[in-house]
């Protein structure tokens, strides 16, 4: 067992995947000598050579489009998008090609491309460096979408994503890159065979509880756990679920929890409107309607362009906003008690 921060766990995952399969390539801006602006590919070009760790010209559509061609040729490209806000120039290639080629060819061509995206806010960055675009990809059939929340998952799920014959959009909460996890989520068995790991796509009950189910993913898992701890003082027992896979969602795990608690809060950093939370709540409502004792509540970023860094703490749902929502589903006094519906 090795204790690694998430950034290093991702590097280790990439290294394992590259060592195991020489069709795995890494491509992106600054991924070579520099090791990426977050150093996730640090050392990999030195180890695997410039043919397998490719510094590309500065053009995201070009990166994604050439990755498609490499996949046609039987390679498994792992594409790094430098920051979440720079994925949009590649959107056409992702939506019209990466997501659809397997379907277009009647299953004859696979697109085993992993799109790694350093993701979301909380690091005081400039505009376009703190985006949460996951809903766009969740809404795009043909893609799988995962988001990791701790080093262990980062190490395992990244390798599973690379090994998967479908394209996977892989979100890495950048504000956790350097966070130390003291629990088992920080311990990585670098010798373990990923074939033995639980399959990609399962949600995880991070903390058990009985009163409210709190569903989330990515860096918000940490905030959700803090909220659960704080709520305990008020005698409220929160079950925290990290869905991990945003598309498809493991509704078996989520629904089992909701049937138990009857109350749901979903939190994410992206704006709420037509976001992943809307999907989660609608599906939960479909599947658990008669178990629900209150309207499920979303706690999300506002529906605004990402605000300037000094104001981001008012955008990313924090402990207090989550607890306020918990009060709401429990029909306890809360900020909206006086606000007309």
């Amino acid at each position: 067992m090795t204790r690694l921060a998430m950034g290093k766990a991702l590097t280790a995952g990439l290294r394992s995947a590259m060592a195991r399969d020489d069709r795995v390539l890494i491509m992106g801006e600054d991924v070579g000598k520099l090791g990426g602006v977050f150093r996730i590919t640090d050392g990999l070009q030195a180890e695997f050579g410039a043919q397998r760790v490719i510094d590309t010209p500065l053009a995201e559509s070009g990166i994604m489009g050439t990755a498609v061609g490499l996949a046609y040729r039987g390679f498994r490209p792992v594409v790094e998008i430098q920051f979440d806000g720079f994925v949009y120039p590649a959107f056409d290639q992702i939506v019209c090609q990466v997501a659809k080629l397997h379907y277009r060819t009647g299953g004859r061509v696979n697109m085993p491309i992993t799109i790694r995206i350093p993701w979301a806010g909380g690091v005081g960055a400039a505009e376009h460096h703190s985006e949460s675009p996951e809903a766009y990809f969740v809404h795009t059939a043909g893609l799988r979408v995962v988001a990791v929340s701790n080093p262990k998952d980062a190490y395992t799920v990244l390798q599973q994503a690379i090994a998967c014959d479908d394209p996977v959009v892989f979100f890495e909460p950048k504000r956790l890159y350097h966070t130390r996890f003291e629990g088992p989520e920080g311990d990585i068995d670098l010798d373990a065979d990923i074939a033995d790991a639980a399959p990609m796509g399962l949600a995880r009950v991070v903390r058990e509880g009985t009163d409210v189910t709190l569903v989330t993913y990515g860096a918000q898992v940490t905030t959700a756990l803090d909220a659960a701890t704080a709520a305990e003082d008020d005698g409220i027992s929160i079950e925290v679920i990290d869905v991990r896979s945003l598309s498809p969602v493991d509704y078996r795990t989520v629904s089992a929890s909701v049937r138990k608690t009857g109350r749901v809060v979903v939190t994410h950093e992206a704006g709420g409107e037509a976001g992943v939370g809307a999907e989660l709540i609608t599906s939960i409502t479909e599947q658990c309607f008669h178990h629900l004792e209150a309207a499920p509540v979303r706690v999300t970023g506002h529906d605004i362009p990402y605000p300037p860094a000094k104001l981001e703490k008012h955008h990313i749902p924090d402990l207090d906003r989550i607890l306020d929502a918990v009060d709401r589903v429990l029909d306890r006094p809360n900020s909206l008690s006086e606000v007309a519906r």
Partner: protein
């Protein structure tokens, strides 16, 4: 040299192209291309003609089938057979081609079956043939997107250490897309073994090529460090030579090359289009005089390589394939409804599985085909 003005000698004049056959079919010489054409014998010329004629025949059948209501759409290739067929024939079987929707001749050369040519346009499937078998990607509809795929494939060839080449086909309109320009950037940066074949058929739907570029398209590539050649796209011999030049460079590790084939779309953009709204009859008439098929026929006649037996053989071959194409269309069976859910993912997916289960249950409730009429709905 640091002051670069646009070279006004890069005229867009249609005759300012490399040519080895005049419109009358006379073989002329060009110092740069001759060496790539000298070994083209009568058999090779007849082979070219044959596939061009078959392409034209099948194209006509496609248009007819669409007009008769059997196809949703058809994008005619008429007038562009020389560059399509000649460039594809110049390739090795293991070179990988990335065509657009209009490259019918490329598919014909690669041995696509009639079914492969129509079932997509009929709306039965998105992709017909197996790309890995024909070494041809599913024809691309998103303008220019395939140019990057071709470059990526070429990067893969480099990594595998083979001497294959990949080929990107696109139109004049496509040269305005960011993707095509990025493809040139990547190809140049990585010295990738890729050939860009731009069929400048003078129009992007209703827009003349001058909207995309006030100068020659061939002039675009050198700025990216890619040598280019402007060739008469209706001259099958010059197209062959140009493509061999480009393939040879790429195959021998010298990197990408760019060909602008100056040609003409003699038909509408697609069967949905009405070109009389935007272009003159005269222009079409002028181009009829440069018809690539008639030109090659004239040349074959001049050199005594075209006789009635050959002609009727080609017609018979074309007719047979056209008949097969028609038959395929008329007997096509649309797949069962549930198959809309097939091949969304390569691996099991709980989301799609759930939708399949529910949709299957829904479909089971029908006596007849659903969505035909609401009367098919069973009483519950």
């Amino acid at each position: 040299m640091y002051t670069l003005t646009t070279d006004t000698t890069r005229a867009t004049d249609l005759d300012d192209v490399a040519q080895l056959l005049t419109p009358d079919g006379e073989r002329v010489h060009d110092a740069r291309l001759d060496r790539w054409a000298d070994d083209i014998d009568h058999d090779a010329l007849r082979g070219l003609y044959r596939e061009m004629a078959i392409t034209r025949r099948l194209d006509g059948e496609g248009v007819a089938l669409q007009r008769q209501g059997h196809l949703g759409l058809w994008a005619p290739a008429q007038g562009q057979e020389a560059i399509q067929v000649a460039s594809a024939r110049a390739c090795r079987a293991d070179d990988f081609l990335f065509p657009s929707y209009r490259e019918l001749g490329v598919l014909v050369v690669r041995g696509a079956r009639p079914a492969d040519l129509v079932l997509g346009w009929r709306g039965e499937v998105h992709g017909t043939f197996d790309p890995q078998q024909l070494h041809v990607a599913t024809p691309q509809i998103i303008i220019g997107a395939q140019s990057l795929h071709a470059v990526g494939y070429a990067m893969g060839i480099q990594r595998d250490g083979t001497d294959q080449v990949s080929v990107a086909y696109f139109g004049d309109g496509a040269t305005s897309q960011g993707d095509v320009n990025e493809a040139m950037v990547f190809a140049s940066s990585f010295t990738a073994p890729v050939v860009f074949v731009c069929s400048n058929n003078q129009w992007a739907i209703s827009e003349p090529v001058s909207v995309q570029s006030r100068f020659t398209i061939a002039g675009r590539a050198p700025g990216f460090g890619i040598p280019s050649l402007r060739v008469d796209g209706n001259d099958a011999i010059a197209c062959t030579a140009a493509m061999r030049w480009a393939l040879d460079r790429a195959r021998s590790g010298e990197g990408p090359a760019f060909i602008e084939a100056v040609t003409y779309r003699m038909g509408p953009h697609t069967t949905s289009d009405d070109p009389t709204r935007y272009r003159d009859k005269d222009e079409l008439e002028m181009w009829r005089g440069r018809d690539p098929l008639l030109r090659l026929e004239a040349h074959l006649r001049r050199v005594g390589a075209f006789d009635d037996a050959f002609a009727s053989d080609v017609v018979a071959a074309g007719d047979a394939l056209a008949a097969e194409m028609r038959d395929v269309v008329l007997t096509a069976q649309t797949r069962p409804a549930i198959e809309v859910l097939d091949h969304v993912y390569a691996e099991p997916h709980t989301g799609i599985d759930r939708q399949r289960e529910r949709f299957a249950a829904y479909l089971d409730g029908f006596v007849d085909e659903p969505a035909a009429a609401s009367t098919g709905r069973v009483a519950r």
